[in-house]
């Protein structure tokens, strides 16, 4: 049975989260989310961090968008690379284990 890209992604997502593929997929999702919020110009809303309202007129929207950008950015620079490295470490470990067997 042939699967389209979406079906393949869903299948990967449902696969074991603690596998190299699971880690890589989650890193990709984080990178995609960061790309989206960055291109959407949400970086400007991080001014809420110093108490200055963002480009949106109201505080609630500015705060939500600013904090969303911050969380996704931190996930991109901290969590995503850790996931990629972990995928590499796990792959090496599994290959070594398979060779032993």
């Amino acid at each position: 049975m042939k699967m389209n890209v979406w079906q393949q992604l869903v299948r990967c997502w449902r696969a074991d989260a603690f596998s190299p593929r699971g880690f890589l997929l989650r890193a990709l999702v984080i990178a995609g989310a960061f790309l989206a919020v960055h291109l959407a110009g949400l970086r400007d809303y991080t001014s809420v961090l110093n108490g200055t309202i963002g480009p949106a007129a109201d505080w609630r929207t500015s705060s939500f968008l600013g904090i969303a950008y911050l969380v996704i950015y931190l996930a991109f620079v901290i969590v995503a690379p850790v996931l990629v490295l972990a995928a590499g470490i796990l792959t090496v470990w599994q290959r070594w284990q398979n060779r032993k067997l």
Partner: protein, 410 residues
């Protein structure tokens, strides 16, 4: 013998074990990966201190920050937008953004003579508009609303916050290139401040009703010192007396740091705060070098912090805690990082030649300040115009102080 369902039960027993093993190995891989990545993260943001601050000429970052600040004063729409956003939170920021930019431009003009004409033009524009607004709308236009909550003790009401910073703007402009029209304006402010300091037994002048700020006093003393350099007056005794009073009455006993604010009778209100102290130490350089160095080293020890190759500054020492406010900015828990104090720490680090601290503060800034570059202009999205003006000042400071210290007239 096979009982019905045994295989299924064994398989069911086996699978959770395998699953648990996968989770365990996956978790170990994640921990290992984090142990590799986190200590390396700062390497992607680290630059030498010279990328932020050059001993001579302008650093790349100073040029980019300067370009953005100039843009704000040449594009009326951009300026209105930035000022509106800042004034919605704090009218003081509008005023301080002007002050820091004028002070920075004086240094920039001395560092890069080719930029002097445009620096002078921009400085004059800012000074004239600020004086006009103060005259037209009154001093409360640049103060926070609580300034009107009760009357000033000394009448007619004046705010040292405005007088000191405006005097330093005028003096900085005149150090870069003298302008006769500003001489009278500077002398008037200096005389007001000097008379006020002499008439109070504690040498305390209000910035807000019965609220005096160490920050504003050292800025005022710096302006007075520069006026001596420019116009040949001599306020050495007044300055010496203020420093003696501060050492005696304004030092927080536990930390040895200067308190931030006090009442007109000298009673401390708010203890040492990073958002004030780094600038206080820097201004003291022009007034009392030993005291300045002492305050910087104490601030560095009590407020400076570092984690994973990134540096930051706390707002309060361990021995004194205050509430987070508009000056401290939000406090990031666990490490107690203050955005306000961390930004001002750049001034201390550059002024006292603390290159290691400066380089790692700069790494933190590029990691968590969200830089945005466009056509050679740099702004930090997590900052605002006053924050960026402070950074611009930190990246250029030095030549004006040096000139005054050496006593070289134009």
């Amino acid at each position: 013998m096979n009982f019905p369902g045994t295989t299924t039960i064994l398989k069911g027993f086996e699978n959770p074990m395998k699953h648990a093993k996968r989770i365990l190995t996956g978790s170990v891989a994640l921990v290992l990966a984090a142990a590799i990545w986190l200590p390396c993260l700062h390497l992607f943001f680290s630059r030498p201190a010279s990328a932020f601050y050059a001993k001579e000429g302008l650093s790349p970052k100073a040029r980019e920050l300067g370009a953005r600040q100039m843009q704000i004063w040449t594009d009326p729409q951009l300026r209105e937008k930035e000022l509106d956003r800042m004034r919605a939170s704090n009218a003081e920021w509008d005023f301080m953004a002007r002050s820091y930019l004028v002070w920075a431009l004086a240094n920039m003009g001395l560092r890069d003579p080719s930029s002097k004409p445009v620096c002078l033009q921009t400085m004059d524009r800012i000074i004239d508009e600020t004086l006009h607004l103060e005259h037209e709308k009154g001093m409360y236009f640049f103060l926070m609303p609580y300034a009107k909550a009760r009357p000033y003790l000394v009448q007619p009401a004046r705010s040292l916050f405005l007088d000191g910073e405006i005097a330093l703007m005028l003096a900085s402009r005149r150090v870069l290139e003298d302008k006769p029209e500003y001489k009278a304006a500077l002398t008037e402010r200096v005389n007001l401040m000097v008379n006020g300091l002499r008439h109070n037994p504690h040498m305390a002048l209000e910035s807000y009703p019965d609220e005096c700020w160490t920050f504003d006093h050292v800025v005022a003393l710096t302006a007075i010192r520069m006026s001596d350099y420019l116009d040949g007056s001599d306020h050495t005794i007044l300055i010496r007396d203020w420093v003696a009073m501060a050492r005696k009455k304004l030092v927080h006993p536990e930390s040895g740091l200067l308190v931030s604010s006090y009442e007109t009778d000298g009673t401390p209100m708010i203890g040492p705060e990073g958002s004030s102290l780094w600038m206080v130490a820097y201004c003291l350089q022009l007034v009392d070098e030993d005291f300045a160095r002492d305050q910087y080293e104490r601030a560095r020890h009590e407020l400076g912090g570092s984690a994973l190759g990134f540096s930051y500054a706390r707002e309060w020492p361990d021995s004194w805690k205050g509430p987070a406010d508009i000056d401290s900015g939000p406090i990031i828990p666990v490490l107690d990082i203050s955005t306000g104090s961390s930004g001002m720490a750049f001034i201390g680090a550059t002024a006292f030649g603390d290159d290691a601290f400066l380089a790692s503060l700069n790494a933190m800034l590029d990691f968590a300040g969200f830089p945005s570059r466009k056509n050679g202009a740099l702004k930090y999205c997590a900052s605002n115009q006053v924050g960026d003006a402070v950074l611009f000042y930190a990246a250029t400071l030095g030549p004006v102080w040096q000139k005054v210290k050496e006593g070289r007239k134009l």
